[in-house]
């Protein structure tokens, strides 16, 4: 049987050359993201913005979106976002947060149930009051910040300073570009998005760690090899693994995007994008970054226990 090979054996590809494109590209995208974040911002879901989200499905299988919009706007609960999705007459309604504190939100649900209850099935109703949404914003922010700090600590223990700096830049790059994805696509940003970002942080780090593990191993073997050549070698050595893992992960996520249902689709799309970004940044951002940071800056190269045993073998 002829087996599939996604990446040729003994490749000698000059990955470091990509930095001439990847650095400016990533810089431009990052700046654009920052600009758009301050002008338009994220499309916050009710988790963070508060308010009421309803998903209703027409019992007849045919939803009259125009009429729903007109009726819902007549409620006097502010701007309603009405959207049709899925196949069988499913409509989502999003009401803004009502002034008058926690208790005021319940009126929205009651009114909608009374009005649409006969013709539509209420599949999902979520109400988040101002206090809870404030707390969710807080814990979401803490989560992302904490993960970056945890990553920093991990890298500090695990790697030499140069490698640690390069991979934290890569991770931050991935966070920024993921947020950029939310800004540009107007994807709803909610607690699940925070989960996606944290998973992407994990994956991003994973990708750089695999490459840098190899870089460190090669550094010890080829003591005089120039940084650029050494990094190219590391990536070429690990490339077949990188491609395989990216492929299996992407395939799983593709299954989720295609069959996972509307509720999980958003998460899967972001993750799928994240896998691409993380793979790109490990190869085209973090690694070439080392050429500038200086690969052999510190003379005291930390050698962890496991690798020393392996090297002595």
């Amino acid at each position: 049987m002829r087996l599939v090979r996604l990446w040729p054996e003994n490749s000698h590809f000059d990955f470091m050359r990509f930095r001439r494109f990847s650095f400016p590209l990533s810089a431009v995208i990052s700046i654009l993201t920052a600009l758009m974040l301050f002008s338009g911002g994220l499309n916050f879901g009710i988790d963070f913005r508060g308010g009421t989200l309803m998903e209703i499905q027409a019992k007849s299988g045919q939803a009259n979106v125009g009429q729903i919009r007109q009726t819902a706007e007549g409620f006097g609960f502010g701007d309603v976002e009405v959207q049709e999705f899925g196949a069988a007459g499913e409509v989502s309604l999003r009401f803004p947060i009502q002034s008058g504190g926690e208790a005021a939100q319940a009126a929205v649900v009651q009114k909608a149930r009374d009005t649409f209850g006969n013709d539509y099935e209420f599949r999902r109703v979520e109400t988040v009051g101002p206090r809870v949404s404030g707390e969710l914003v807080q814990s979401g922010t803490i989560g992302v910040v904490l993960s970056v700090i945890a990553v920093l600590f991990y890298l500090w223990f695990r790697f030499e300073r140069e490698l640690a700096i390069a991979s934290i830049i890569g991770t931050l790059h991935d966070i920024v570009l993921t947020i950029g994805f939310f800004v540009i696509t107007r994807h709803e940003f909610n607690m699940t998005s925070i989960a996606a970002i944290l998973t992407i942080v994990g994956y991003s780090l994973n990708e750089t760690v695999v490459v840098f593990d190899r870089t460190r191993e090669l550094m010890r073997r080829y003591k005089t090899m120039p940084a650029e050549e050494l990094l190219n070698l590391s990536i070429n050595h690990t490339m077949s693994r990188t491609v395989m893992t990216a492929a299996t992960t992407a395939l799983s996520l593709l299954a989720l995007v295609l069959f996972g249902g509307q509720a999980i689709q958003g998460f899967a799309q972001v993750m799928l994008y994240g896998v691409v970004i993380c793979t790109y940044s490990a190869i085209c951002i973090s690694s070439p970054m080392l050429i500038y940071i200086g690969l052999r800056g510190s003379e005291t190269v930390k050698v962890p226990e496991g690798s020393r045993a392996a090297a002595a073998e």
Partner: protein, 535 residues
């Protein structure tokens, strides 16, 4: 050398078999599980039989999640009223008069007693109000609940301390949980879960509940019932309370309380035998019966005021003394209203208002669809990855695929034992780990291939592949674990479900992708004595 000791093989297989057996109940539906449990002979000790199934989150089985918060303002208002009553009582007992009555200040009350001798009589009694917080028997030092400040010109201020208020909130949450438990009585088919969350919140989860409106109505009422008398013209000590029958028009009600909700032993919805109107029948305890009997005897012909949460819900005329200890509340009620009222009265009053700060309800239809979609996505992802791994690594890919299936089985097994909740993001987590679990195998296989190409013998290449890839596998899994653990501690509900799956997935992947695969390769090598790598 590629050698696996017999004991190591047995241990690995045993752990995996036990883990997979634990997942068995989760693979069955309710009836199948019952049949299976019945089929186990009785001499088998029940702790040996895996019986726990994974708990499905509300987003998968449908139901309502309502987060309630004890209204601290309301609670404090109530506490200040109690404090004011206490101070009034003490002033009366000691025959001291305050110059400008009892003033309400933030968190407390203030009186003005310029006379030093009066103050000396008053102060010891007032100090009794400032009890220490916590259980003195257990020696908990926590300061006082009420703080007393005196100025030289005789202004005495009693205020609740921060710690005192927090202690009251804590107690109010405990009491409220009990009351909420009694109020949620939906026939007992689904188990509602009621938990304290944080300092001042209660999380109520009712599986299968589609419209939490009735639940919200029930929990929205404090349920504070008082029997008083409608005031006669010219009476002074009265409250003006809205009367429900007359469209909220305010009527004067005597402050004196004859009997209250706490004096009731039972309350049941019923129909009046003559008017066929829905009513609530109630029964007093001895104390309540005595007081009610006396009051109705003394006030024949006057109107009673039945006050619920400061609203007069009914004002019947006392036609004859009610000494039997039972009575009825009638009014223009609907059947649903009397049902709710009876539940409210039976469950007792909440110590403070509960506010709904978050509500998430998923209909059963959506839950079913989500499970179906999740299953499909899991199967498709599994098939994609299995085909892909086999096409790339041949026989070794097959080994990785077996490890992958075991890995997913073990996640379910562990979740069953831990009684973890499977949510929709949790399913996404499983699908994602299908993709990432094979990463370890990929790392190992690619390394083996490299070592083999570098001129090692096959055995030595396999050996080196496993050894050298291991450090990287530990690294790559710990990086994922960092994110998952943070997510676990920050997320709630569905998102936490994702973190749980991810953490368990990281744990099992080491066992399956490293140990199990290595064992399979070792056995294959010893049986087949192959000359070349199969990929």
């Amino acid at each position: 050398m590629l050698r696996f000791s017999r004991s190591k093989i047995i241990a690995t297989v045993a752990i995996i078999v036990i883990g997979l057996l634990l997942a068995v109940p989760s693979a069955m539906n309710r009836e199948q599980r019952q049949a299976y449990l019945n089929a186990i002979p009785s001499w088998v000790p029940h702790w040996l039989v895996p019986s726990r199934a994974i708990v499905l989150g509300l987003d998968l089985q449908g139901g309502s999640h309502v987060l309630l918060e004890v209204d601290a303002q309301d609670l404090l208002r109530g506490q200040v009223t109690i404090l004011r009553d206490d101070v009034r009582r003490i002033l009366r007992d000691t025959r001291v008069s305050s110059q400008n009555g009892i003033q309400t200040v933030p968190r407390g009350v203030q009186i003005r007693v310029p006379d030093a001798a009066d103050r000396d009589r008053l102060m010891p009694r007032l100090r009794e109000l400032s009890q220490p917080i916590g259980n003195a028997m257990l020696g908990q030092a926590g300061g006082n609940a009420v703080e007393i400040n005196t100025t030289p010109d005789g202004v005495i201020t009693l205020t609740y301390t921060e710690a005192g208020i927090n202690e009251r909130i804590r107690r109010a949450v405990d009491q409220s949980i009990e009351v909420v438990r009694r109020r949620i009585d939906f026939g007992g088919t689904t188990e509602p879960s009621i938990q304290r969350q944080g300092a001042d919140r209660i999380l109520v989860q009712v599986p299968g509940l589609q419209d939490p409106q009735q639940l919200k109505t029930l929990l929205g009422e404090t349920g504070n019932l008082e029997f008083r008398l409608l005031a006669q013209p010219g009476a002074t000590d009265v409250d003006m309370l809205p009367m429900e029958d007359q469209g909220g028009q305010r009527v004067p009600v005597e402050r004196r309380v004859i009997a209250e909700g706490g004096d009731l032993t039972d309350a049941q919805p019923a129909f009046d035998s003559q008017s066929h109107q829905p009513i609530v029948n109630f029964r007093f305890n001895i104390r309540g019966a005595q007081r009610f009997g006396q009051a109705t005897t003394e006030n024949l012909g006057r109107q009673l005021a039945i006050v619920l949460d400061n609203r007069v819900i009914s004002a019947p005329t006392i036609q004859s003394p009610i000494t039997g200890g039972s009575g009825q509340i009638s009014g223009s009620f609907t059947v649903e209203q009397v049902n709710n009222l009876a539940v409210l009265l039976r469950s007792g009053a909440l110590p403070a208002k509960l506010t709904i700060v978050e509500e998430r309800t998923v209909g059963p239809g959506l839950g079913r669809d989500s499970i179906q979609a999740g299953k499909t996505a899991t199967y498709v992802a599994g098939i994609f990855v299995i085909i892909f791994m086999f096409a790339t690594y041949g026989l070794f890919g097959l080994f990785a695929n077996i490890a992958l299936l075991v890995h997913v089985g073990l996640i379910f097994g562990l979740m069953s034992v831990l009684e973890a909740t499977l949510t929709l993001p949790g399913i996404a987590g499983i699908v994602l780990t299908i993709g990432t679990a094979v990463d370890s195998n990929v790392l190992i296989y690619e390394r083996i291939r490299e070592e083999f190409k570098a001129g090692r013998s096959m055995v030595s290449a396999i050996q080196a592949g496993f050894d050298r890839a291991f450090a990287t596998i530990v690294d790559s899994n710990s990086t994922m674990a960092i994110a998952a653990v943070i997510l676990f501690f920050l997320g709630s509900g569905p998102v936490r479900g994702f973190a749980v799956v991810f953490i368990l997935g990281i744990l099992t992947t080491v066992l399956t992708a490293v140990t199990l695969t290595r064992m399979m390769i070792a056995l294959w090598y010893h049986w087949m004595r192959p000359k070349a790598l199969p990929f």
